[in-house]
Amino acid sequence: MKPMSYDDVQVGDQLPVLDLPAVDRARLALFGGASGDHNPIHIDLDFARRAGMPDVFAQGMLGMAWVGRLVTRWVPQSRLRRFDMRFQGITHLGHVVRCSGRVLEKIEVGGERCVRLAVQSANQFGEVKIAGEALVALP
């Protein structure tokens, strides 16, 4: 459900969660091509093993794109002002990611009424993989 306005939103409000399908190799190959990130560590098992990893793993920016979807489902992208994420853990094959967020603060930034959101992605074991904030302007 999209927020009607700044006044409708309260600190602590939760964004509707976004559940993703389990990470598989096809997803990583598609995202590698679409995002321009051709680092073989995400798509070539042999390369990943030589780099000391047990297998290929998800691109950090795939997780951030998913968190972006969480935000733009809640508020139109044209209202997004900032988007800052820290990559805290590796998202591996088979991880089932849930993106979630909540309203941290209602503030005025540059003459606009904005809300600061805490957003994150976590796997099925509750391990946080990416965490950060988004700033959105609301009418």
């Binding site: 993703l20 399908p21 997803r27 598609l30 995202f31 091509g33 679409a34 995002s35 321009g36 990130d37 051709h38 680092n39 073989p40 560590i41 390369f47 030589r50 780099a51 000391g52 691109q59 950090g60 920016m61 795939l62 951030m64 794109a65 998913w66 972006g68 979807r69 935000v71 733009t72 489902r73 139109p76 992208q77 044209s78 997004l80 002002r81 900032r82 988007f83 800052d84 994420m85 820290r86 990559f87 950060g132």
Partner: protein
């Protein structure tokens, strides 16, 4: 150790025309099901001139151009040791199909932690459109694990 004299180094400009086929491919890759990102009529109904580039799409500009690869070579950072630590976007204007985006980056900082076991490279970027207007600023923290 990464040579810290690269701090302040400017990467060459990278230009990327924003095309519908690429944005639809990106939407498919991230499972995007909002028609605003794939259907021109839906995008226009939402107030965009054409399909908008999703929030993280501009990260592709310097990957496509090879600017990131050249920077890693310059800093002698092997892909096998590289992790993405942080990523930030500040948005100034929407970017849509038909726009051509130019990204110019600078190596803002290089530092290490844990007695050099982890090295960090901070790259900051400005993205402008064909009218020379600032559309977004990006900041990436890359981590090299030894």
């Amino acid at each position: 150790m990464i040579d810290k004299t690269w701090i302040g180094h400017e990467l060459g400009a990278s230009e990327l025309p924003i095309e519908a086929s690429r944005l639809r491919f990106f939407a498919k890759a991230i499972g995007e099901d909002d028609p605003v990102y794939t259907d021109r009529a839906a995008a226009q109904a939402a107030g965009y001139p054409d399909l908008p580039a999703p929030p993280t799409f501009l990260f592709a500009v310097e990957l496509d151009s090879g600017a990131v690869d050249r920077m890693l070579e310059l800093l002698q950072l092997p892909l096998s040791k590289l992790l993405h630590g942080e990523q930030s976007f500040t948005y100034h204007q929407p970017v849509c199909v038909g726009d051509t985006v130019t990204v110019r980056s600078c190596i803002e900082d290089i530092y290490d932690k844990k007695n050099g076991a982890l090295e960090f490279v901070v790259k900051s970027s400005r993205a402008t459109n064909q009218a020379g207007e600032l559309v977004a600023e990006l900041r990436s923290v890359l981590v090299c694990r030894h």
